[in-house]
């Protein structure tokens, strides 16, 4: 098996689609066209089978078990941690904390690092285009510590207004928390510049990588970010999984988050001592199945390879963008040169909900609404958009059908 790797991710769209059983169905009488990948991706057989294999072969609770199944499960779980480490180029496995998702990971940092270091008047810097999951945790910790939130503005093309940085980052800036890629606009943000500036000012930086992790190579060592968070379900992996990467020296000094089994060294009613990293932050039985399947998802992505994926996704993005431009009255939100294959748009005079409903009637799944970025839409003075988001298994034919469906829906609604 090691010698001749199984082909789990063929470099051919039609063959690749065969690996995703869900895609082959009709919705409301038409073949499904799934363009809601930024909400969650579909799962390849390789990932689904890793779950079945676990439950039919070696399901057991992990760590501290002396029996065979417990050892198999523990080894698989820790191997998955090692795969994550390699995938994002962290320096040690101890820097990889498994969480239930990006939201959980950000809350962990806000409630431990944030709560223990922020003081009244300190500043947390976010951007206008953050997801609610990277806003509300900071609002909560700001409220309890007296810290203030400042916000990086954007330009009309949906990019950070970097000219504002010098007045926004100052000596009171303690934490900068921004997304790597915007889920609402698709913009790939220049996080490296921000990280370096923040570090010069003495602030720590958390990157919300929920939307980056399936689309661009992430190298936490190069980025030099202090924390990096993402979810398994947006990268061909299962729901209920997530990762918090943190620099070891920060994780070491942070107080624990959840208390319970696994994260302790010894417990007595008088005195409890905590376990080493990464276990210190992993209280209770983890999502063993999910973590193992997340490891499988990483293997899947690695086999596809960034080069091939990026090529496909660039084609899709260009085609979708041109297609939308060709329809009168359609406006795209988010027109940065650096984007993942996400297009957010509105058709003049038409409510996104109406358009989304009529697309669904034609088998096309897009997302409508605020996409959990209300402050961004407040800035644009709209209440939301339609968002079509693509994955490697989408193809140009689907974009053609999407166009016809859009035209039909718009003509019905006009």
């Amino acid at each position: 098996m090691e010698a001749e790797p199984m082909i789990i991710a063929p470099h051919n769209i039609e063959q690749l689609r065969e690996e995703f059983p869900l895609l082959h169905q009709k919705v409301n009488g038409s073949p499904l066209i799934y363009l809601d990948n930024a909400a969650t991706t579909q799962k390849p057989l390789y990932v689904i089978e890793s779950i079945t294999n676990y439950y039919t072969g070696y399901n057991a609770n992990i760590h501290r078990g002396v029996h065979h199944l417990a050892n198999l499960a523990t080894d698989a779980f820790e191997k998955a941690r090692n795969k994550v480490k390699r995938f994002i180029s962290a320096s040690t496995d101890s820097e990889i904390i498994f969480t239930s998702g990006t939201t959980d990971a950000i809350n962990l940092v806000a409630q431990t690092f944030g709560k223990s270091t922020l003081q009244k008047g300190d500043e947390i810097l976010l951007s206008v285009m953050e997801h609610h999951s990277n806003i509300v945790p900071w609002q909560m910790v700001a409220e309890s510590t007296g810290a203030k939130i400042r916000v990086i503005p954007i330009t009309s093309s949906g990019e950070w207004d970097l000219s504002a940085l010098d007045t926004l980052i100052g000596e009171r800036t303690r934490i900068v928390a921004v997304n790597h890629v915007s889920n609402a606009l698709g913009t790939i943000n220049p996080v490296k510049i921000l990280i370096d500036k923040a570090h010069i000012a003495g602030a720590k930086v958390l990157i919300d990588g929920a939307q980056a992790i399936a689309h661009i190579p992430v190298h936490v060592g190069y980025l030099d970010c202090d924390f990096y968070c993402f979810s398994g379900h947006k990268m061909y992996g299962p729901t209920g999984t997530g990762v918090l990467y943190g620099k070891k020296e920060l994780l070491e000094m942070m107080p624990p988050y959840r208390g319970g089994g696994e994260m302790i060294e010894t417990v007595s009613f008088e005195n409890t001592t905590f376990n080493r990293l990464p276990h210190k932050f992993e209280a209770g039985t983890p999502n063993i199945e999910g973590v193992i399947a997340l490891g499988a998802a990483i293997e899947f992505i690695e086999q596809l390879g960034w080069e091939w994926m990026n090529e496909q996704e660039e084609l899709l993005l260009q085609a979708a963008t041109e297609m939308l431009h060709s329809i009168e009255g359609v406006k795209i939100y988010g027109t940065s040169k650096h984007k993942v294959p996400v297009v957010s748009f509105l058709a003049e005079g038409i409510h996104p909900y109406d358009l989304g409903t009529l697309l669904d009637k034609q088998g096309i799944a897009v997302r409508t609404g605020h996409h959990c970025t209300q402050p961004l839409w407040d800035w644009y003075k709209i209440s939301g958009t339609l968002r079509a988001s693509f994955s490697v298994y989408n193809n140009l034919e689907e974009i053609g059908i999407f166009k016809q469906a859009l035209l039909k829906a718009i003509s019905l609604l006009k």
Partner: protein
């Protein structure tokens, strides 16, 4: 003679019976949405907004001298508005007790049950719930 809730539902079902595909149905709903008499602007406030919907839905209820409830509503999405128009047509002008007890089977019968799923965030289910709450409250007022 005035039709009851049941007759009005039947009428809607008959009307939809002539459509052979989703497009015709939606064309009609969209038409209805365009026709819905708008709610008085003064009711388009947060008080009258129905929570948890993707499209915004405002609803107002008033009781007339004869003891029946008159509903007016609006939405910023036209399909939602069309669906609301159907519900209002069926429930508006009825007595509180009849509204509270009504089984709105017509939505399912015309093939739009998907819009009634309580987890669907289009507001139709929430609006019907709100209409029944109004009816319940108004039924308790002295006529």
């Amino acid at each position: 003679m005035k039709m009851g809730i049941e007759e009005k539902q039947q009428e809607v079902i008959d009307e939809f019976g002539v459509f052979s595909d989703w497009m015709q149905k939606y064309e009609y709903i969209i038409e209805l949405g365009k026709e819905l008499p708008l709610i008085d602007e003064k009711y388009k406030t947060d008080d009258h907004l129905i929570r948890g919907c993707q499209s915004r839905v405002w609803l107002n209820a008033a009781m007339d001298e004869s003891g029946v409830i008159l509903f007016t509503a609006d939405s910023d999405a036209i399909i939602t508005k069309g669906l609301i128009a159907l519900v209002i047509r069926v429930l508006s002008g009825e007595k509180p007790t009849d509204i509270v007890g009504a089984d709105l089977h017509f939505v399912k019968d015309i093939g739009l049950q998907e819009h009634l799923s309580p987890t669907r965030s289009n507001g139709l289910a929430s609006m019907i719930k709100q209409m029944k709450i109004y009816a319940l409250a108004m039924g308790r007022l002295p006529a």
